[in-house]
Every structure is written in structure tokens, then in C-alpha cells.
Amino acid sequence: MSEKLRLRFEKTGRAVYISHLDLMHTMQRAFNRAGYRLKYSEGFNPHPQIAIALPLSVGAASRCEIMDFKLLEDPDLAELPARLTAAMPEGVRVLEAYEPSRKVAELKWLRVEGLFEYDERDAGEMAAALADFFRQEQIVITKKTKRGMGETDIRPAIRESLFTPGDKLVNITATISAQEPTLNPELLAEALRQLRPELAPDFAKFTRLETYDAEMEIYR
């Protein structure tokens, strides 16, 4: 049996609509198709031992997904990415496979890119106003928590943010907290809808770009 292994993969294009649960199932079948045998848990209802680090919400893309798994035999890690990618649905691409040296809990920050689309408004003005908005010391929004609706300040979960105007859109790059607390980047748009509706985009979408640890070193 193999040691715990880690996969880094992309989920882009049409694959962004595959839900977290469906992705687990898709992964399982992709391993089967590629001829790798996942290790299953013991017990009455065995399931493959795979864990995707930070569930991605439906509609969001990522270039830095992380999944841990175990195989029944030791694979050739160099050939695994290409072989597994060939067995994936459109939009899922395996970047690398390795034996991880760090725990998932050490993953602290995520760099994300967002596109805020403005159909009728001036992108330059919006970019400037957005920068002002996210520079505030507190951004308190109402959101669903485990105990019903509650007030949360999302500002501490945003480490840095940059707003660049484009054609009918503002391009955002931000570093946001990945765990404890987890900030769903969708809340950046939600904050505007709640607090400054005139800045809220007509449509927003996000892509995860890179994973970092607490010291802002790239996490692997």
C-alpha cells in the first residue's frame, strides 16, 4: 500500500459546475479508469479514502486544488498526473502528485482572482470605489452561520486586495483566509450587495490561484 499521497489539480471550464460531492465520485471513477486502485476504508459501507482539502463552491474555478488519497500499490508519481488527467472529464487537470510533508491544517491563505462584471457602469470608477471600500477597517456583513443569521466582520480574512479596471469589468486579486476562518470569496461581492449596492457587480466569478501557509510561503 502507498503512503498518503497528495494531488494538486485544476478545476476550470465546464468542470466548475461539478459539485464537491460529485467531484469525489468523479475522482473515484477517474482513478478506476486510469487503472489505479484507491484504498478503501474498512467497515460495513467501504468508501475510498480520498479527501479534498477545501471544498470549492459550484461555479468557482481553481488552479490549486489539493486532494489526499491512498492507493493499494505504490505508483510511479512522475507518470501519474498525465495518466489520471487522461481519465478526467473536461476541465479537470492533474498538476502533480507527491508525498505530502505538511498537514492540510497548515494551509492558511488563498490567492484568488475575481472578475466583477459591470454591464452599465464605468469600470474605472468602480475599481477606485472598490479599492476604497475594501480598505475600510471593518466590513461587517450578515451571513448564515451555524447558529442562524449572524454578523461577521470579513475584513480580517482579507489580507490584501488589488482592483484593476478592464473592459466592462474589474479584475480583483486578493489574498483571503482559507481556513479558520474560511472566507468564501463570493462574500466579497455579497458584502457590496449588502453595504454598497451601487458597487455590487452584475455578475462575479472567482478562480483560486495559489495556496499559502501562515507565513505567506507557498503551501504544498
Binding site: 471550464g13 459546475y17 471513477r29 482513478f31 478506476n32 479508469r33 459550484v58 481519465a87 473536461e90 476541465g91
Partner: protein
């Protein structure tokens, strides 16, 4: 991806069913193909992606190098609303291109309640509903599937139907369409030529005349179309292509597994059963073929379940050899093998125990009739002893749920027959008490009834359906007879069955009502979420469709039935004989014991014999 689509997808339920991009989808270069075909399934993605016929034909049609066949399903209500609001027309999953740009739309219609969805999909694609309102050759709108055995209710909407199995005829039709497109033929020229292909029914080439009493006086073909359209079949199933690299959905669907088709046709001849008659003659695949195709499919899909499909799986002669071969591959890989339609009468202990090693599910019996007399009358060859014997083995082996399915309203049914249903449930309960190893887990027996629907091309095609009131009376009779705590009784409402009876036995005059229901908002009628009985009844009234005439009237022996010009192989005289046997409460032999010369064997080619 279309920008408008990108904005609505995050808002709808299960968006992955609207995007395509699944593993094994077929992508071609649209500039390089001559024909683009939208293969439409008039129900949701989850249902359509579970349909083996659709999967087979997607691959056989895509084997034509000049054609790209893409999938199209009906969006669920939320997506439908969003698409309307955003002005997004119906699009195909592989390319995302609007269906209106395609050369042809082919519908796979398996059940009558899908009719309104067919119209809705045409409308969402911006295509006129009626064949007569589409003067050009393209887009060619056609359909196949079980609905083609009585194509009349949908006849005005379709340019042509294919009757029977599509693996060959679909490709012939598409090849002819390519020639027509190249040669710049008119639609009329094309249809006249297409009607010469065996299995092709072009409704516009048949004129229907009616008697004063509403029955059919004559159906007259023109332009050389055959007087009767003979169904197409594949004589040798071992040689026909079977897709061993089917598309693997990236989201959950109804049957998320590899399906293997053991045989086509059914040796049983249950008299209420349309499928058992229209899929004849009986042809089986060799176990070697199935094992090879099963293993290849599992390797190409990564599925963890394989299921054996057929009308009566346990009638497959080499079932033990097939199971052995598959289990040899499946067991070490924890792949589940399931047999969905095992019969009570030859459920073998051996097979059950072997499957038990892999997976265990509930026992299901389609008993259909409540007494032996009635079961003989409908030729349902299941005895109480068979059911009890199977149950005793199953209970001893640890099974503890049993589902029993019945129909109410079968020809010749009496109240005594109905009370027999409750009696059998009690017997099974008793059987459990005697045989169960571990009684702590309890037992669950479920009795379900549905209302009998007389179906075209079956021995009961002349029958009348019982009224809604009568069905309810029979339900209440049974309800008061079922008293045991472990026995649950579920009855399906008869309203859907009534609409189905009108649609399945309908003629061309019913088409107006189907269109009217769609105009009043009807779509996805197979779903209780969307089905409206009132909407159908109103439409029948508006369009002058007499429900009693179609559903509750017994047809005469010599009456021309709306589907008589479609020849599915089985002779009308055979069906009539079977019906007469019903009224004598007499069984007919199973094909395996004695061939009753039903007529379907005439379809076989190449010296192949029925059930060889």
C-alpha cells in the same frame, strides 16, 4: 461558454447537468461534418443519461464520419424559467450550440407522458411544432422509441418515425438525409424516398378517413409508401455495435452504472404487456459477448456497478455462466452486480447467494393479478407457491423487505381477485415468521397497485380501461382488507393512467389536445411536480377529444385500430387469440416450451431462428 448561461448556472439546481463536458462525450469538428444532429430526450438529464437505448444510438450514429450527434435534454423548471428570461434557446450539451442551427432533431420517446415535452423542446429551439409548418428539408424532425408503435398522436408533429430497433435504420435515414442535403432535394422528395426504407413511417404519406361514429374507415398510403410499415430489428445481437465507452455523467443520474442487455424480446407473453410483444422476436447475446462488453465498459467508465437488463433477466439461459464470468472480474474489485428483474418463479437460490456476497437489495415481485385465476387470464405465470418459496429462501438468507406490484382493472378482474392480494401479503408475512433467521430486524412488505392501461400492439389493445371511480372503489376494497401492521399499501393515482390510456390508444385527432396542453404550460408531464390532470381534461374538452371513446370503449374485433398500419411483427390474429384465451382464463405456453407462431420470427434474417 455563453455569457448569459454562465450567469444563470450558479443559480439553478444541479447545474452540472446543463454543461456537458463529461468523460467519453464525443466531440467532433463542426466544420468537418456534413450533418449536425440533436439527439433529444424529452425528459431530464438524469433520466435520459440512464437510458441504454439513447446511449447505444448516440454511439452508432456518431460512428458515421459525416455526422455529429449531440445530446439534448429537457431542463428542469428552474433552468427552464432562467433560460426563458435570459433568452437562451435550447442548446446541445457537447458544443453548447443552439439546436436551431442543427440539420436534424431526433427524439427518443419512450412514454406518452413525454409528448408535451417533445413539443416544448421544439419550441425552445424555435422550431415550428407541426411538420406541415416546416416546408424546408431541414431541420428534419423525427422520432423513435416505444411511442412509435402507435405514432398517431404525435404524427402531425413529426416528419418521420423509425419503428423498432435503431442501430441500422437510424444510420440509413441519416445517410439519406446527407444525400438529400447534398443534392438539394425538397422535403417531399426526401420523405417519399425515406418511406422506402424498412422501418420508416412517414405519417404525412398516409391519409386517415373516419366513420361517422369516430372509428377509422381507412388509412391510405400514397406516393408508394407501404400499406404497413414493418418494424426493424437487429437479427444478430452479438454482431451489432455496443458502446463500451459510454458517457460517464459528472453528476448523479438515476442509473449510474454499466448496463448490459442480455436479450431483446420476452418469452413470456403476459397479455397486458406491450413491451413483451413489441420487442419480439426473442434474441439473446452470448455470455462471452456480454462478459467482454461488461469488462470493457467497466474499464472505460470506472463505474462500480454493473446491471443486467432485459424484460425478464432470469429467463436468460446462460445466467449462471454470465454471472460467474462477471463476478470473477467484479468481486476482487468490489464492483457490484445487480439483476433488476428476477422473477419469482425461477429465482435460483444459487444466484441469490452469489449476489449476496457482493450486494443485497430488496425482493421485488411483479405479481400483477391477485388470484391464480386472474394471473392465468392475463398469462402472468407466477404462482403463490413460487412467491412463497422464493421468499422463504430469501428470508432465511437475511432479506427482510418484499415489494409486490399489482394492477387493478385487468380484464376479468373480480372483487374476489382483489381480496386475494391482501391474502398473499398475509401469507408472505407468515412465511417470514417461519423462516426468518433474525426476527429483530422486522419485515417490511409493500403492496403497490396501479391502474391497468390497455396498450396498442398487446393482446389487450381492444380493452376498455376502468373508470376513475371504479379504480378508487377497488383501492378502497383492498385498503380495508390489508390490516397487518408490517404490510404497507401504496396505490398510484389513476388520473395519470387515464391520460396515458387516451394518449397510447389515441389517433391523430388527439394531437390537437397534446398541443393545447403544451400551450397551457404543460411540460415534463411524467413528473407529479408538473402533471396537471385538470389541464389535460380541459384540453380534451377544448379540442373535442372524447375521453370515453379512447379510454373507456371496447373496440370491435374488425375495427381498424389507429396503429394497425404499423407492423411490429406479432400478428393481429395472434393478439386476438390471446385475448380470447384470457376470457377463458387459460394460459398460453411460454416461447421456451412451445412457439405459438406469434409472427415476429418473420423479421429475422440470415437464417437466425427465434430464441436460438
Amino acid at each position: 461558454m455563453d455569457k448569459r448561461l454562465e450567469r444563470i448556472l450558479p443559480r439553478v439546481q444541479k447545474p452540472a447537468r446543463y454543461t456537458g463536458g463529461e468523460y467519453n462525450q464525443i466531440i467532433k469538428d463542426k466544420e468537418q461534418v456534413e450533418l449536425r444532429l440533436a439527439f433529444c430526450f424529452p425528459d431530464t438529464y438524469e433520466i435520459g443519461m440512464s437510458n441504454l437505448g439513447m446511449s447505444i444510438l448516440y454511439h452508432t450514429m456518431n460512428s458515421l464520419p459525416f455526422l455529429w450527434c449531440e445530446r439534448v435534454y429537457a431542463p428542469w423548471g428552474d433552468m427552464y424559467e432562467e433560460m426563458k428570461k435570459a433568452g437562451i434557446p435550447l442548446y446541445a450539451l457537447e458544443s453548447g450550440d443552439p439546436v436551431s442551427q442543427f440539420d436534424s432533431l431526433a427524439f427518443s420517446i419512450g412514454y406518452e407522458m413525454a409528448y408535451t415535452t417533445v413539443l416544448d423542446m421544439l419550441d425552445m429551439a424555435g422550431i415550428p411544432l407541426r411538420s406541415a409548418d416546416r416546408p424546408g428539408l431541414l431541420p428534419l424532425i423525427w422520432a423513435g422509441g416505444t411511442a412509435a408503435v402507435n405514432a398517431e398522436p404525435m404524427a402531425p408533429f413529426m416528419d418521420l418515425f423509425v419503428v423498432g430497433e435503431g442501430e441500422e435504420v437510424d444510420n440509413e435515414v441519416m445517410t439519406l438525409l446527407r444525400d438529400a442535403k447534398r443534392g438539394g432535394w425538397s422535403k417531399q422528395e426526401f420523405l417519399v424516398k425515406a418511406a422506402q426504407i424498412q422501418g420508416v413511417y412517414v405519417p404525412s404519406l398516409y391519409e386517415v378517413q373516419y366513420h361517422e361514429d369516430g372509428t377509422i374507415a381507412a388509412v391510405t398510403p400514397r406516393d408508394g409508401a407501404p400499406a404497413r410499415v414493418t418494424k426493424r430489428i437487429i437479427s444478430d445481437l452479438d454482431k451489432v455495435p455496443f458502446p463500451t465507452a459510454p458517457i460517464v455523467p459528472s453528476t448523479e443520474v438515476v442509473h449510474d452504472r454499466v448496463s448490459l442487455e442480455l436479450f431483446r424480446g420476452c418469452p413470456r407473453g403476459c397479455r397486458f404487456c406491450q413491451a413483451g410483444h413489441v420487442y419480439r422476436p426473442l434474441r439473446a447475446k452470448k455470455p462471452e459477448t456480454l462478459i467482454r462488453q461488461g469488462i470493457e465498459s467497466l474499464e472505460n467508465t470506472g463505474h462500480e456497478d454493473v446491471t443486467l437488463l432485459s424484460l425478464s433477466t432470469s429467463d436468460y439461459r446462460q445466467l449462471p455462466a454470465l454471472c460467474d464470468g462477471l463476478l470473477e472480474y467484479c468481486e476482487p474489485r468490489s464492483i457490484g452486480l445487480s439483476l433488476p428483474s428476477l422473477r419469482a418463479d425461477n429465482f435460483s437460490m444459487e444466484i441469490m447467494q452469489r449476489l449476496q456476497k457482493v450486494r443485497k437489495s430488496g425482493l421485488t415481485f411483479a405479481v400483477e393479478g391477485g388470484s391464480q385465476r386472474l394471473r392465468d387470464a392475463v398469462n402472468k405465470n407466477v404462482t403463490e407457491e413460487d412467491v412463497l418459496h422464493t421468499c422463504s429462501i430469501a428470508f432465511a438468507g437475511g432479506w427482510n423487505t418484499v415489494k409486490l406490484y399489482y394492477m387493478l382493472g385487468l380484464p376479468t378482474e373480480t372483487d374476489e381477485d382483489i381480496l386475494g392480494i391482501a391474502e398473499m401479503a398475509n401469507q408472505i408475512l407468515h412465511c417470514w415468521r417461519v423462516n426468518a433467521k433474525n426476527k429483530n430486524r422486522g419485515v417490511k412488505i409493500t403492496v403497490s397497485t396501479s391502474c391497468f392501461i390497455p396498450k396498442p400492439q398487446s393482446p389487450f389493445q381492444w380493452e376498455a380501461q376502468i373508470s376513475l371511480e371504479e379504480y378508487l372503489r377497488r383501492v378502497n376494497l383492498l385498503r380495508s382488507a390489508i390490516t397487518a401492521r408490517n404490510v404497507t399499501y401504496n396505490w398510484h393515482d389513476a388520473e395519470t393512467s387515464l391520460i396515458e390510456a387516451v394518449l397510447s390508444k389515441g389517433d391523430r385527432r388527439v394531437a390537437d389536445a397534446i398541443e393545447e396542453v403544451w400551450r397551457q404550460g404543460g411540460r415534463l408531464d411524467a413528473w407529479t411536480d408538473y402533471f396537471s390532470f385538470q389541464r389535460w381534461m380541459d384540453a380534451f374538452k377544448t379540442c373535442g377529444v372524447d375521453v370515453d371513446f379512447y379510454a373507456h370503449r371496447e373496440a370491435g374485433k374488425d375495427e381498424i385500430l389507429p396503429w394497425d398500419h404499423i407492423d411490429v411483427g406479432v400478428r393481429k390474429a395472434h393478439l386476438w387469440h390471446e385475448r380470447e384465451m384470457c376470457y377463458k382464463s387459460k394460459l398460453s405456453p411460454d416461447c421456451r416450451h412451445q412457439c405459438s407462431a406469434c409472427g415476429a420470427a418473420k423479421l429475422l434474417e440470415g437464417g437466425i431462428k427465434c430464441d436460438e
